[in-house]
Symmetry: C2
Subunit: 151 residues, 2 copies
């Protein structure tokens, strides 16, 4: 259906929130701030943890923090973790031999599109997203990522 899963949506929200905090944030806390279902949030955080994007501390006052700086985390990684590796068409990661037909007409234009999207998600960092959110209410200038990373 060519859309991001809610899991990815949520993950971006969660990570952007963590990026704006210094102390650990608990699953409970983020869930209530953004009014998301707690079990879902907890699940996604666990997944982000096991993928090494965030680190955790248990017990009272425990929670999660980013493992790397927000500028070091890009959208591509997040999508890979919560959505699966991005492939607009299956054949994009299978260098040779289209299963359907040797001269399958879809390949080239769609593969070009795939690479464009890939480029964008790699160039967009969590820091870009956070910055963008902060300036959101003051819509004076265009956000940086738009001018910096795309034609």
């Amino acid at each position: 259906m060519l859309k991001l899963s809610k899991k990815t949506d949520y993950a971006i929200i969660l990570l952007a929130h963590l990026g704006g905090q210094i102390d650990p944030v608990s699953a409970q806390e983020v869930a209530s701030i953004y009014k998301l279902p707690y079990p879902m949030v907890a699940n996604i955080l666990k997944q982000l943890l096991s993928s090494g994007l965030i680190k955790s501390t248990r017990g009272q006052n425990g929670g999660y923090v980013l493992r790397r700086s927000a500028g070091d985390i890009n959208l591509s990684e997040i999508i890979r973790i919560t959505d699966s590796t991005f492939a607009l068409v299956e054949c994009v990661h299978e260098e040779d031999a289209c299963k359907v037909y040797q001269c399958c007409p879809t390949s080239r234009p769609l593969i070009a599109l795939h690479h464009k999207i890939q480029q964008f998600v790699e160039d967009t960092t969590l820091a870009n997203i956070i910055e963008d959110t902060k300036s959101k209410n003051f819509r004076v200038k265009k956000s940086s990522y738009e001018t910096a990373h795309l034609s």
Copy 2:
């Protein structure tokens, strides 16, 4: 999952084939050429018909032809018919009020990405795809749509 459905994949293949023919092509014929399941092909063609992208003639020697020229049909339309209207994130078509949170951090960068993709699929015509397929075995120059429509 951020990928095109097989239906869309198939639809592009079918339409590209029709675009290269003058006489009506039957569902049976395309199915056998591309080794796709006949009922699937037939179904998609019916859908493309009812959406007005192709026209049909019944009976012996019947089949389907494009209703408009290949240069007049773009990827966006095809995706809309076989995949549903493209929306990278739900909120992209709901001008106001994010359901999740007023300052939802995802919106802007993802909406920017959405528009980039939208631009691409609108600029890529069936003619581009067909042309590209023909030149595929002679990988001398880059295909036209790449230079013409993207950064």
